[in-house]
Structure formats: structure tokens, C-alpha cells
């Protein structure tokens, strides 16, 4: 066997092995968190910086994201990576609701599919209704300009939940081939979607 052929064979084996190793290797985690003594809000001369938990320690094990706390909080909860206490007193659980609402049906940007489920796992109904949003679909007068000013969705999104730079996390449904659910009035701006699990129970 000529030497060149042997070398080519060895190179091919190595290439295959490299591909196989990389396919199995976990995604590299490039996230970084500023240590609290360097974060500009904690006093580095104070005693607390010695004992408080560092963000890196708490957040690195959780489902990664590219913005905000660099954590997908809803996903971390779904996967059971965290089990935050839902109530302080009593055993009454949070009222979970799994309907979804299509918003922005007449806008130019992609349609918003709002999941009640992810929100009701964290929040109580009274946090949004009837103050920030009205219960009746399509009557809350949602306005991106007001959201960007920290009102409506912007009370949380942009302050504590994922920031408003993540357009397509909310504007997540293409207009191409989209059909509003049955019974949606002509020209409506929003429509309620009742998922199969709920409608079967009714």
C-alpha cells in the first residue's frame, strides 16, 4: 500500500473521530456574570459581599438565554431546575390557566401568541387583571409605544422578565398562512385560542 494512501486513510479516520466527539460534546457556555463586589451597586467595602450568593453560582445551572439574567426562567421551571415557592401562607395553589391569546392581528410585525400558562405559573390573576389588562380579549388597547415606556407588558418585560430587545419571543407567529380561530370577528385585533386540553374538559 502506498504511503500516501495510508496517510489519507489515517486523516479520514481522525476527521470522523473529531466530528463524532464534537457531535457529542455539550454546547460551550459563554455566559458570564459580574461578581457582586464588582457590579457597581454593592459596596465592595461592606461586609455583605463576603456572604451573599454570587449570580454565577445560582444562574449558571439554569436553562441558558442570551439576554436578561441569561436564564430562561419559564424553561427552568418547566424542567424542574428550580421549584420556587408559589405561596407563603396557606396551601391554595396559583390558579393556572392554559388559554392562549393571539394579539396584533392587524399589525405589520409577526403576530403575538400570548401564553397564559407561562404567566399563571408565576403570577396571580390580580397582578394583571383588571388593572394592567382587562379580561375581555381585545379590549386592553395594547400599544408597543406604551410597552416601550414601561407600561402594560413593559411593567415586567424590560425590567425583570426577558427584555424588550427580544422581539420575536413575543412576536412569535408568522402572518404567512395564519388563520384566525373560528368565531374571530372580521377586523379583530386579538383572538382567544382555547387549547385542546381545556376545550375537551368543557
Amino acid at each position: 500500500m502506498p504511503r500516501a494512501a495510508i496517510l489519507r486513510f489515517v486523516a479520514q479516520v481522525l476527521a470522523c473521530a473529531t466530528v463524532a466527539v464534537h457531535a457529542q460534546a455539550p454546547q460551550p457556555d459563554f455566559r458570564q456574570w459580574v461578581a457582586i463586589e464588582k457590579d457597581g451597586v454593592h459596596d465592595p467595602k461592606g461586609p455583605a459581599v463576603q456572604s451573599l450568593q454570587q449570580p454565577r453560582e445560582a444562574l449558571q445551572p439554569l436553562a441558558p438565554d442570551g439576554a436578561g439574567n441569561q436564564v430562561r426562567w419559564v424553561e427552568a421551571l418547566r424542567q424542574g431546575q428550580i421549584n420556587p415557592r408559589p405561596r407563603l401562607h396557606g396551601t391554595q395553589p396559583l390558579e393556572v390557566r392554559d388559554t392562549e391569546i393571539y394579539l396584533n392581528l392587524r399589525g405589520g410585525t409577526p403576530i403575538v401568541k400570548f401564553p397564559h400558562l407561562a404567566h399563571t405559573q408565576w403570577l396571580a390573576c390580580a397582578n394583571c387583571h383588571e388593572g394592567l389588562f382587562r379580561k375581555e380579549v381585545g379590549t386592553s388597547g395594547l400599544d408597543m409605544r406604551r410597552i416601550l415606556q414601561g407600561e402594560q407588558c413593559g411593567v415586567c418585560h424590560g425590567a425583570v422578565s426577558f427584555p424588550l430587545t427580544e422581539c420575536n419571543k413575543c412576536h412569535n407567529t408568522s402572518r404567512i398562512g395564519f388563520h384566525a380561530p373560528d368565531g374571530t370577528p372580521q377586523g379583530a385585533r386579538a383572538a382567544l385560542v382555547v387549547p385542546p386540553s381545556t376545550s375537551a374538559a368543557r
Partner: protein
């Protein structure tokens, strides 16, 4: 007429480069500084880390049960209320979390900080965010 070469141009570039290369000290996203009363009363401002509490509690515990309004600066939190078991005192009672006599653990902020919501990672922009 012959134009002078702009001698100040490299200086501007050097300045811009210097700004860009200074690592900005940044709070974690959604950290809240409370300093309505703290420094006036002679203690450091409070730094409230949302991320730390979110790992352990859902939003509804503080923003529904304990009555914290969802707007930084909208809550009138006093030490008297906390000692009486309201606001932070719902948990910070020595039972669920450390008791209010551990002053320095909450009053851990840099002197002179303004109240409000802080945090890096794409949270700077118009309006309140």
C-alpha cells in the same frame, strides 16, 4: 489652499477606544436599589436582587401576597413595617430567611446610589427600562 491634516483625529479614536475598552461595572438584570430612607437614616442603600428571590419564590408571593407594587419606587417600605412582618418581613423574620437584625446583608449598596431598577444585559433604553 492646503488643508492641515486633522491632528486631533487620532486623539478622538484613542478616546473612543478607551471608552469602549473600559469594562462597565454592571448590576445583574433587575437588581433594585432602595434608598428612599436608608442613607438619610445612616445606613447603606438596600440592593434587592430579583434573580436570587426568583429562584426561590414565584412573583405572586411578593407581588400578590406581600403587597409589593410592580414598579420600583412605588412602595413605601419602612423598617418598622418589616419588623412587624410586612413587606420583606413576610420572610425576613429569622424563620424563612434571615431576620431584620442582619442589617448589613440587605443594606449592602454603594453609598450615593439612587433608588430604581438597575441591571445590565440589554436593559438600558428609553422610558423606564
Amino acid at each position: 489652499m492646503k488643508r492641515e491634516p486633522a491632528r486631533w483625529l487620532p486623539l478622538i479614536f484613542a478616546f473612543l477606544f478607551a471608552i469602549a475598552s473600559v469594562p462597565a461595572a454592571r448590576a445583574e438584570y433587575a437588581d433594585v436599589v432602595l434608598n428612599k430612607h436608608a442613607e438619610a437614616e445612616g445606613v447603606r442603600p438596600v440592593v434587592f436582587p430579583h434573580w436570587f428571590h426568583r429562584v426561590r419564590f414565584r412573583c405572586a408571593v411578593c407581588h400578590d401576597e406581600l403587597g409589593f407594587k410592580m414598579r420600583a419606587g412605588a412602595n413605601e417600605v419602612t423598617m418598622k413595617d418589616i419588623v412587624d412582618g410586612k413587606f420583606c418581613g413576610g420572610c425576613h423574620n429569622g424563620d424563612i430567611a434571615w431576620s431584620p437584625d442582619r442589617c448589613d446583608l440587605c443594606h449592602s449598596g454603594k453609598p450615593g446610589l439612587k433608588s430604581g431598577i438597575y441591571g445590565g444585559h440589554h436593559s438600558t433604553g428609553p422610558g423606564y427600562w
